[in-house]
């Protein structure tokens, strides 16, 4: 050890040592010259450089030299068994690559903090509730179902926010924000759509951001009566204003409403939502002025029953999240209780809780975390298979090299030295695999981003190979190398030299096999078991996708062109909007190749809903659960165009206009739920509009439609009410609509024509979101599709790797028994019997693997339940299919060595050493 330390010293002070060496030799020469009185001492002394070289080699000497030797030798061995090396490196590279890619996504989604000051101090406010809270009349935003039942939601009433902000002692800033959705931005005469975010005056201060230009929104901008201002994103500033300082002070039309740009957000900041890139930030006070939704927005800042702003806070120094929560919970509870107006509202109230906010709003994490956990588990298992494979291959090779090792040991090589050499080989393998794996990972990340984004224009999830990911890969590689290098290395050096030396290459009758199974058998069984798990999971996901795709829709999905129009963003008001829609619909219907054109306020199967509470005259409310219905405002000929059959009564259409009594078509679910056992036609019900209307609107049911899917392939169809958009209902104003054009041919071919017509009629109204109904539906199951595809890839990968492992083990076993098989054949064994002899072992290994695998599948697929649709985690069909595939592959992998064994020429085999 000391000598190693001295060597290190030498390496560190190499220059000094060199100089000293020089001086020493010159000193020697000088003395020599004095003694001999000769000038020609140099010749006598000999080769100075050689002496220096020799001394130098002594220092770097053995260690580095041996390392170089080992590396050279390892490279030679690798080159001499190319198939082995390629297989080993490739399988490990695939394992490492898959792990790195998935880990990069984990990193991007789960771990990366927002680019704001001290992100760890941020906390997000949420509430949760079990059951329906009637105190909440309207809710805009996202909500998640919790595993234990109930929902959790980040949206609060504005007044509730003010109360929390002004009465807490735990947050230095408590700021609010609300998504503005896609906004029509017109600057310098150029229109574009961009996401907007309404933010409270202390938003930027609370996030500790400083402007890239101008100033950011402050509390003085967020007061009623303040002049309307906006902050734009750095990206928008660069794109639209070429990053000119003159952009500050310019006017920008947002949804037709003029705002003054006061500043630019810092370059890397896109808002607190990782799933959208906000282009413009507007004081939340302006929310009413911008008339985005036009549904009684004037009351949004004062209505205590309308939940819409999200809240984040910066904890005061020294205050923990738990302390903050302890103070805020009673504060919010008191406020909500005060806002409740009757007993039923007081019966169930939302409970506040805090969540870490350093990574921003958790929508992405929520969407992808579970799939990512599953994928991480899968790639982890694949890495395990790869490691087992390598271990098995190295084990087999170590066996084959027993004689070589014995020779080395008998010639005096130390055990440590031999183990070091074997370790060098395996670490070299894993480092090469890690390099290749990193390359594969970078492709994988690109492919995954592409798959997940699925053509979405502002996909914000930017996973990249950063140094942490690389460290992780390197650790995995070295750990793997040590792991699979050490076991065979120890085994290889433990051999008893004498018998090993006597052993011939074909010597099979070793007394060593005392156990009926060896380490390599256990590895093969484990591989098969893991593969079964992965193949079964892939099968479950593929069948889920199949089930989702074959769900009966109840409407026509083919040849329907969809696009959004929102004339209110271009300044249109109510009567003008409706006449514009009617005009456009007429024009579309007249186009050649168009079978029908209509519109609806909500696209079908696009995960968007619009729900309102209702009450039945003369019927007591059924329990705590207030009756409700989904509402769609539809254009005339909606039912014809979407091919939803009317079972009774009449569709709503042209005759249901302004001033006429409000009529509606309901679906079968509605009829069954609220009018069980009778025809709903002619009945009335009251629909509560959005906040502000207590009376409800009297609606007469005039038709019954066959059930058609509403918002999602997975969810049960809710009761749906279809109302003609031409009818005017107080507070239910018509804004944006989705047009649905049924064509004879390819619907997208019509997109250009549609754009031109809209432009002719109204140049200020942009056509957005052009897609087809089929594309729309597919878009909602992108995650399931990606998942099924990835899992199929992983399953296939696992299968191939296990087959390689099984094949390698069997091929090796056969090659060791060559002479035994030769003798058997010389004694008259039939080929059939030889094949059976080998296959029997394959089948035994396979059966053991499948048994272990099935037990594992039984235990683990329960965790996948939430991912599945239309089948159980232990779906017998999928499981038997997976077992059949694995058994077939195992037999196939085992048959090749068996066949080779049966074709051994006894003469060759017996002479063979």
């Amino acid at each position: 050890m000391k000598s190693l330390w001295r060597r290190l010293q030498w390496l560190l002070h190499r220059d000094r040592f060199e100089r000293e060496m020089d001086e020493e030799i010159h000193h020697h020469l000088g003395l020599l010259a004095d003694d001999r009185k000769e000038a020609d001492v140099l010749r006598q002394f000999g080769n100075i450089t050689l002496i220096k070289e020799d001394s130098r080699r002594i220092w770097i000497g053995t260690f580095c030299e041996q390392l170089a030797q080992d590396v050279r030798y390892a490279l030679r061995t690798m080159a001499s068994s190319k198939l082995f090396t390629a297989m080993a490196i490739l399988s490990l590279a695939l394992g490492i690559g898959a792990n790195t890619a998935i880990y990069s996504f984990m990193d991007a989604i789960m771990l990366r903090a927002m680019p704001v000051g001290h992100p760890a101090q941020l906390a997000i406010l949420k509430w949760r509730i079990k059951g329906d809270a009637t105190v909440i009349h309207g809710r805009t935003g996202s909500a998640y179902r919790e595993p234990g039942g109930g929902i959790t939601c980040p949206n609060f009433p504005y007044q509730g926010y003010e109360t929390l902000r002004d009465n807490n002692h735990v947050f230095s800033t408590l700021f609010a924000y609300a998504g503005g959705g896609r906004m029509n931005l017109v600057a310098d005469g150029q229109a574009e759509l961009g996401f907007g975010e309404y933010v409270s005056g202390n938003y930027f201060g609370g996030l500790e951001l400083s402007p890239a230009a101008g100033r950011l929104i402050g509390p003085e901008d967020d007061k009623s009566g303040a002049s309307p201002v906006a902050v734009i994103s750095y990206g928008y500033w660069q794109r639209r204003f070429a990053a000119q300082a003159a952009a500050v002070g310019k006017r920008i039309l947002v949804n037709g409403y003029p705002l003054t740009i006061i500043g630019v957000a810092p370059p890397e900041f896109f808002g607190v939502r990782p799933d959208t890139v906000a282009q413009i930030f507007i004081p939340v006070r302006q929310f009413g002025s911008l008339d985005v939704n036009q549904r009684g927005v004037s009351t949004w800042h004062t209505d205590p029953h309308n939940y819409w702003v999200e809240i984040m806070g910066r904890l005061r120094p020294g205050v923990t999240q738990a302390q903050a929560q302890a103070e805020l919970v009673p504060l919010f509870h008191g406020w909500v209780l005060n806002s409740a107006e009757n007993e039923s509202e007081r019966a169930l109230l939302p409970t506040l809780w805090l969540q870490e906010g350093g990574s921003g709003v958790d929508s992405l994490r929520h969407q992808y975390s579970q799939p990512l956990y599953v994928l991480t588990a899968m790639v982890g298992l694949i890495l395990l298979i790869a490691c087992a494979n390598i271990a098995n291959l190295l084990l087999a090779r170590a066996e084959a090299r027993r004689r070589e090792m014995a020779v080395r040991l008998s010639l005096g090589a130390g055990r440590i030295r031999v183990m070091r050499q074997l370790l060098t080989e395996s670490i070299l393998l894993s480092i090469s695999a890690a390099a290749l794996g990193t390359l594969l990972a970078s492709f994988g990340i690109r492919a995954l981003t592409w798959l997940l984004a699925n053509g979405r224009e502002n996909f914000t999830l930017h996973a990249q190979l950063d140094w942490r990911v690389l460290t992780f890969t390197l650790l995995v590689a070295v750990a793997t190398g040590t792991l699979f290098g050490l076991a065979p290395a120890i085994q290889a050096t433990k051999i008893d030299i004498t018998p090993a030396l006597k052993e011939t290459r074909a010597g099979s009758s070793r007394a060593r096999t005392r156990l009926p199974f060896s380490l390599s058998h256990i590895l093969v069984v484990a591989q098969i078991a893991i593969s079964l798990l992965l193949v079964a999971a892939a099968g479950l996901f593929v069948r889920t996708l199949g089930n989702l795709e074959s769900v009966s829709l109840g409407f026509n999905r083919d040849n329907v062109l969809l696009f959004d129009l929102n004339p209110s963003h271009a300044g249109y008001k109510e009567p003008a909007i409706k006449s514009l829609y009617a005009d456009l619909q007429r024009r579309f219907q007249l186009l050649p190749g168009v079978r029908g054109a209509t519109m609806a306020s909500v696209p079908l199967v696009a995960n968007s809903t619009n729900t309102t509470g209702i009450s039945m005259p003369g019927q007591p409310p059924a329990g705590r659960r207030a009756p409700s219905t989904a509402v769609m405002m539809v254009g005339p000929s909606f039912f014809d165009t979407m091919q939803i059959p009317i079972l009774a009564g009449r569709p709503v259409g042209e005759q249901d206009i302004d001033g006429a009594p409000v009529t509606a078509v309901v679906n079968e679910v509605f009829a069954r739920k609220y009018f069980p056992g009778q025809s709903p036609i002619g009945h009335h019900f009251f629909a509560f509009a959005y906040s502000g209307n207590r009376q409800g609107v009297d609606i007469e049911i005039v038709g019954l439609a066959r059930t058609a899917l509403y918002d999602s392939l997975r969810r049960e169809v809710p009761p749906v009410t279809y109302i003609s958009y031409l009818q005017s209902i107080k507070n239910w104003s018509i804004t944006g609509m989705i047009f649905e054009v049924h064509t004879a041919g390819d619907p997208l071919a019509l997109a250009g024509t549609v754009r031109r017509i809209v432009h002719d009629v109204s140049p200020q109204v942009p056509v957005a979101g052009i897609t087809t109904q089929a594309g729309q539906i597919d878009g909602t199951i992108v995650q399931e599709r990606t998942f099924a595809e990835l899992c199929t890839c992983f399953g296939a990968l696992a299968l191939i790797m296990s087959c390689v492992g099984l094949y390698g083990t069997m091929a090796y076993a056969v090659s060791r028994r060559t002479s035994e098989i030769g003798i058997r054949m010389a004694l008259g064994a039939e080929r059939r019997r030889i094949i059976w002899m080998v296959l029997r072992q394959v089948l035994l290994l396979g059966a053991a693997g499948l048994a272990v695998g099935l037990a594992a599948v039984w235990e683990t697929t329960q965790f996948l339940k939430s991912f599945l649709f239309g089948l159980q985690p232990n779906d017998p069909l999928t499981l038997s299919f997976a077992v059949a595939i694995l058994a077939a592959c195992a037999v196939l992998a085992g048959y090749a060595p068996a066949w080779r064994a049966s074709h051994i020429d006894p003469m060759v085999a017996l002479r063979h050493e």
Binding site: H27, H28, L50, I58
Partner: protein, 110 residues
Amino acid sequence: MGTRTEIPPGTLYMLILKTLARIGPMHGYGIAQYIQQTSEEVLQVEEGSLYPALQRMLIKGWVDAEWRQSENNRRARFYKLTPEGRKQLNRELRDFERVMLAIGKVIEPA
């Protein structure tokens, strides 16, 4: 100068160690001179093996080196025996004597 004989393999360390044990700290040239003179010019220490051997002994910790003024006021690297080096010397001497004894028995005319 008499006939020069190469130092028997494996004994150079022992000779160096013994020299240092006898005359105390000395530089490379001095060590070579001492071996040469004491052996009455029979043993010739090659510079090409002396310096690498000294380096090796430094690594093994048998000798220490330090820079000092030599007798004629030149800076020179002096090598000094360490306790470990002394132990090694004893070991080598013991081994050497055993081998010499054994060789003697073999070549002794019977």
